[in-house]
Amino acid sequence: MAKVLVIADIKQGVLKGSTAELLSKAKAIGAETAVAAIGSKIESLIPALANAGADTQYLADDPGLELFSAGPYAACVVDAAGQFGADLIWFGFSESGKAVAPRVAAQLNAACATDITDVILQGNQIEVKRPAITNKVIQRVKVNTGQLVAVVRAGAFEATEGISGTENVVRLSPPPQDLRAVVREIVSEASGEIDLSDANIVISVGRGAKDQSGVDLVKELANDLGAGFGSSRAMVDAGFMPHYKQVGQTGKIVAPSLYMAIGISGSIQHLSGMKGSKVILAVNKDPEAPIFNVADYGIVGDLFEVVPILRQELKKIKQV
């Protein structure tokens, strides 16, 4: 039986949904599951880690792990992978996962694959699928080692209802600090905001919003729906939106249940960051905008007219 170690996606003390998604996939392929949770004061997450589908919880809980630092985090994962005897080590889609996965692979002499969207096990043979060249191709990749470290793309796997694991906690010793790359502080621009990569609905604003008043208008719609509020690159470059809100190849890749592209024409860059969304709604003045080629529902119109109506109509539903 294959053994899958999932690295818990914990942001600011909260366990993110991707952890249950990855563990569900692990169970679906018949694997034995464990989770590695790394951070400070995360003891209280143990029941949630078990509920997410992990049968063993490797816990690295230490004040020295409060700020993310790739070196010490990798050391914890290597330790947990060794104790568990993991064949597959999966990170959720995150900047920390992307920073740590190659380190773990190098240290374990394992293969490494980022952005995977599927895993196929045939006996001991591991194969994965992953998009490349800005989503223009899918690679089918054969793994030549018995062990694979992978970062799973956002939205690739779904959490199965009713899956759960057992509480079986193994405590890891705290790793040495990385004295040559010392993380001094993390300035969270996003505190209190809805995390784009975890939101069920994401609403992004583009050049059609023109200026701050347009941005604010779309933001109100996002607030109404409790949606993550994202941006096209154009609005980031123009200084209306911060970079961490940019959806696209060079920003965040999202795959929510509903994505609303408001005033976004749909560059290749942007499309590659949101094409995996389940349902896409686009609002754009230009009926020829490329965004309409991928949108399930398109409204041709000026967002300054459409968004207020959209808010009204959606409020009616929310009240029902």
């Binding site: 900047e95 490494c112 690679q139 502080e185 109506i309």
Partner: protein
């Protein structure tokens, strides 16, 4: 400070890519410098101009890489190394990292700057693997580099919850994000000078690597097939009275897509 930067020649992602019989159709493809590597080159050149750093680039594989190496020269890079060898066919990120390790060890560098990923594979692994092989500290997804003194940098990276500020001791490896700078366009004078500069060409033997070290153990993973992605189909597009069509779409979101 001696800086080594990497440039990869990649397929131009702005053009259409066609897949047939499990492979990418070569016809009609064009090749350019990896966009993230342009940022790496710009970072290195800025450190040359502002801090007197010495800049060297290395480019691996790709056959004739003269054009992108000369482009980097025209942007201001001083020295160029091109590593090519038939044994590099099918190389994965680990093989690239191993080759870069040899280049690094020959040059006594203080800092490696790579793009955070290459546009042809989107792997985002090589720079981090190189640091592991060299036993050096590494910060990935870097958006700013500040020189403190000849042994220390302050760098910031874009993390999951915000900007992470890291004190980084040299020698080190950083991989840069596109937001770190705006790569300059080569100017005519630079382009003319770049034409006269030489490029150091090396194969694996010259680096002290046997084909076995990159070949026999084999790449840890290999692409066995390319598949054309399923295209999202255009759905329903509505034009007309904003109130009417918006109400219509909301109704579809509720009753057809069932997202609310």
């Amino acid at each position: 400070m001696k800086i080594l930067t990497t440039v990869k020649k990649v397929v131009d992602v702005e053009l259409n890519i066609h897949v047939e019989n499990g492979a990418i159709v070569e016809k009609g493809l064009q090749y350019v410098m990896n966009a993230w590597d342009e940022n790496a080159v710009e970072s290195a050149v800025q450190l040359k101009e502002n801090k007197g750093a010495e800049t060297t680039l290395v480019s691996i594989g790709g056959g004739d890489n003269t054009d992108i190496i000369r482009k980097a020269y025209a942007m201001g890079i001083e020295n160029g190394i091109h590593i090519d060898d038939p044994a590099l066919a099918g190389a994965d990120s680990f093989v690239y990292a191993k080759v870069l390790q040899k280049v690094f060890e020959k040059g006594n560098y203080d800092l490696v700057i790579t793009g955070k990923q290459a546009q042809d594979t989107d792997n985002a692994q090589t720079g981090i693997l190189l640091a592991e092989y060299l036993g050096l500290p590494c910060v990935s997804n870097v958006i700013a580099i500040e020189v403190i003194d000849d042994r220390n940098l302050k760098v910031s990276r874009l993390g999951d919850t915000g900007t992470e500020f890291v004190d980084l001791q040299l020698p080190a490896v950083v991989t840069v994000d596109v937001t770190i700078n705006e790569p300059r366009l080569p100017q005519m004078r630079g382009i003319m000078m770049a034409k006269k500069k030489s490029i150091t060409a090396m194969d694996l033997a010259a680096l002290g690597l046997s084909p076995d070290e990159v070949g026999s153990a084999g790449p840890k993973s290999e692409i066995v097939e390319f598949i054309a992605p399923e295209k999202r189909k255009a759905g329903q597009k509505f034009e007309g009275d904003p109130a009417e069509i918006t109400a219509r779409v909301v109704d579809l979101l509720v009753n057809e897509a069932k997202v609310f």
